[in-house]
């Protein structure tokens, strides 16, 4: 195949495929403009950016804004919070869809099963703006959670104003919203496992728990690892909309994340170079985490992502 193609002049190939380029080139331009061109704008992190002078016209500032960043307490809080919230979400939320998929697979009634699936998938499609609004109502002073507290004789509490509860609220509402949806992928993975293996294990007298541990989990291990690597890649975005709807000044110390920090400083206060520097730190940490995870996955004999 290569021999015959190599003899064909590449110009002739392009001419023959010119219709294909008509399909592809507008899309490629789209990606170059909206995904690659912004990379040039990152240079303002190293400049004293002034909107009237533009990116090229602004003078260089060296590492001034990075020094400012690391001496701003709010930035260090946001960096630590982002990593903490993401790790909490992975550690606690990650197993939930796996457990859901395995248990869902054990349901006998098809109708009950499909009803459950319908209800489980729905919240994923609903925006955090809406879900956050509902969470806010449930946790407000006269909301349902405080009503339950009062049944046990406790006074009302403003959960969303308490910094030690904020991260738990983020993780819990994240589980409620997304676990059902992510179980779809595991359910699909479960159907790949050969049912004969289960049958012979049953003949050998293996319990359900042993079968789950020795057959089911190894059977979906590859899917688990791919999803784990992907979530490591998103570690630096701990959920902008979710935090934005739920947080307030009282919980900045534990709840402000990099994306909300960049939004407040960059868009609301117009400190473009400062916010761009924060964005660049975010990207670099994110890339390192993704590469390290991928390397670990490959070292332990898995396929990896990159």
């Amino acid at each position: 195949m290569n021999d015959s193609k190599a003899t064909v002049n590449w110009r002739a190939r392009v001419r023959k495929d010119r219709y294909i380029y008509a399909f592809v080139i507008p899309g490629v331009l789209f990606y170059l403009v909206f995904s690659y061109l912004p990379l040039y704008g990152i240079t303002i992190a190293f400049k004293d950016f002034q909107i009237t002078r533009g990116i090229a016209g602004s003078s260089w500032a060296g590492l001034k804004y990075f020094e400012q960043l690391f001496t701003t307490p709010g930035f260090r809080d946001a960096l630590v919070n982002t990593l903490t919230i993401s790790f909490l979400k992975i550690a606690i939320s990650f197993p939930c869809p796996i457990i859901l998929a395995i248990l869902l697979n054990e349901l006998r009634s098809k109708r009950f099963r499909s009803l459950t699936q319908s209800l489980m998938y729905l919240p994923y499609l609903i925006s955090w703006i809406i879900i956050g609004g509902i969470v806010y109502n449930f946790l407000s002073m006269d909301g349902i959670v405080n009503e339950i507290r009062s049944l046990f004789g406790f006074g009302p509490m403003l959960y969303l104003g308490e910094k030690e509860y904020f991260r738990s609220i983020l993780v819990a509402s994240d589980i409620w919203k997304n676990s059902g949806w992510y179980s779809i992928i595991y359910l699909a993975a479960l159907t790949r496992i050969n049912s004969e293996i289960y049958e012979s294990a049953t003949v050998d007298g293996a319990s359900w728990l042993r079968k789950t541990w020795h057959i089911t989990l190894p059977g979906i291990k590859d899917v688990m690892i791919v999803l784990l690597i992907i979530s490591m890649g998103h570690l630096m975005s701990a959920g902008f909309e979710q935090v934005l709807v739920l947080y307030n000044q009282r919980v900045y110390e534990t709840g402000d994340i990099l994306d909300t920090f960049i939004y407040r400083n960059g868009i609301l206060q117009g400190r473009f170079s400062f916010a761009a520097a924060a964005g660049l730190v975010t990207s670099i940490v994110s890339a390192i985490l993704l590469l390290v995870t991928d390397r670990i996955a490959k070292k332990s004999g898995e396929r990896g992502l990159i």
Partner: protein, 281 residues
Amino acid sequence: MNKKISVFRGFNLLFFALLNVAMIYPFWHTLVGSMISFEEYSNYKLLLFPREPTFDAYREIFERGDIFRPLQNTVVITVAGTFLSLFATAWTAYGLSKDFLGSRAIMTIIALTMFFNGGLIPQYLLYKHLGLLNSMWVYLVPALINTFFLIIMRTNFAGFPKEIEESAKVDGCSEFGIFFRIILPLSKPVMATIGLFYAVGFWNTFYASLMFVTQAGKKTLYEYIYKIVSNQEGSQFATSVAFGEATKFANIVIAVVPIMLVYPFLQKYFVNGTMVGAVKG
């Protein structure tokens, strides 16, 4: 042994029954909450059924009228965005499903964008330069192609037997003719699924409105809702009566109903495996 299994089955059934209640109750609470008076809301925290249903909250919203402009904007964005994005995605995906000079390099350039982005500020400066700030186009143009959907569609197109296209070519059909008359009609299921996902995404448009639009008349419905429900400074500690809870709930219901309406169609397709198959591949 058998007894053990049935105990497990029983617990499992109970677990999912409770889970279903936990999934549905917040939505039900919101719906019931939007249809009751303030007195009823203060007396009953667990909202199971409206004792005296009233549509006062909805009437109040429509009489105030400030929801209409953002609602109209969001409807326009959803309709225009879904068609534009679906077309742009299918158009590009069809080209990418072919083997041509540079196809591998181009796929790499596109797939890489799933792992990085320039960040908010460079994005903002680019949009400013392109004249997208404070323009309705900022909702449509940067969101034109979703890479994940593009790859799903490409996989779908690549799966068609080559003979169909070849025989169409013999019959004198051009490449564009093949795309419009053969590929698109054959791809109805995947087009419907991805179209619905795009529609839900455009309906939920919030980020671009918050970041790139300052003119009140061009804001989207979800930013309007955000201002009403969010935990912004002050609102938490102000009296909740100022913006009655029922009105907040009614706003949420208006914003969610369209998604609930398309959900059964959406679910029909993705459970049938169009999306899941692509994820596995």
